[in-house]
Symmetry: C2
Subunit: 150 residues, 2 copies
Amino acid sequence: MTKSPQFTRSIRSWMDVFMHRSMRSWHLFAKSTGLSIPQFSILMQLHHKGACGMSEISERFEVTPAAASQLVDKLVQSGMLQREEDPHDRRAKLLNLTDKGRELIKQGFEERYRWMDQLSGRLTEAERVQISEALDILSRVARDLEAEPV
Amino acid sequence: MTKSPQFTRSIRSWMDVFMHRSMRSWHLFAKSTGLSIPQFSILMQLHHKGACGMSEISERFEVTPAAASQLVDKLVQSGMLQREEDPHDRRAKLLNLTDKGRELIKQGFEERYRWMDQLSGRLTEAERVQISEALDILSRVARDLEAEPV
DNA sequence: GTATAAAGTTAAGCTAACTTAACTAAAAAG
DNA sequence: CTTTTTAGTTAAGTTAGCTTAACTTTATAC
């Protein structure tokens, strides 16, 4: 495998801080909106991956189709999600974020970003450039990896 | 405020990828261990911040003391947490991870790290060094920020 | 064309996370 | 020393997420 203990150490240290922070803040944000974690996670999923069918929800969250249907139903009722028939397969449904749902997610991200802005304020311009480049590389590689068959 | 649109863009792009990924994977991991998200979050909190009292749990998760007590009780019963009397204040309790709890968290992190190892495999050595340095800066600043009064 | 499989829904019932309210016990204030 | 505040627990009841089972509707296989 990859031999680079320093890299591993740096990555893990950052993940420790960042994961704790982001888990907690999403949790509190979801709560403040009145949505449950599972409901909120579905919106996040839609935001990240785009429109999908009911079965994808059920698979990705590892719940039964029945559970997915019920969760989605609540989100439709609260106006976050649009559920329409798939024109290519009339059994299937197409799930999409509504404007309201998109707005909610956006707001959540804004709050998350604020923390990073605080961090940013403590950096020199040179550090910002370095970090910016580094994160761009990571984002690119992460997206490549995600795009692949697995 | 900080004027650095490129930095902001890079950070946000990375957060998009990373937050989605880590939320989902923690969720699935917690589920696979048989713990609920709230229970698991308490273990994470203890891991990150160290021992604390019941009231800290209740405050940080924004639930009533009653709810905190009940959640902690389940974790004690499943052997993840130790709950003992605070020697300085006999009303208060001290919550600590047990070895079993620590092991569980560690295992969760290992799974999370695997993704980053995959990423790492796609980088050149130069990129690894650059990213490593960048993340170290971020970790340091993040910890400084956290240590402060707020 | 009929049989089977797939996508999703609905209903009934279980469990766990919450809440409020009433309580115990110890610390701090007066 | 009494009063009040603080830390935590217990009990009862509500709600939401989940499951299984039975069902409808559309697509696919033979």
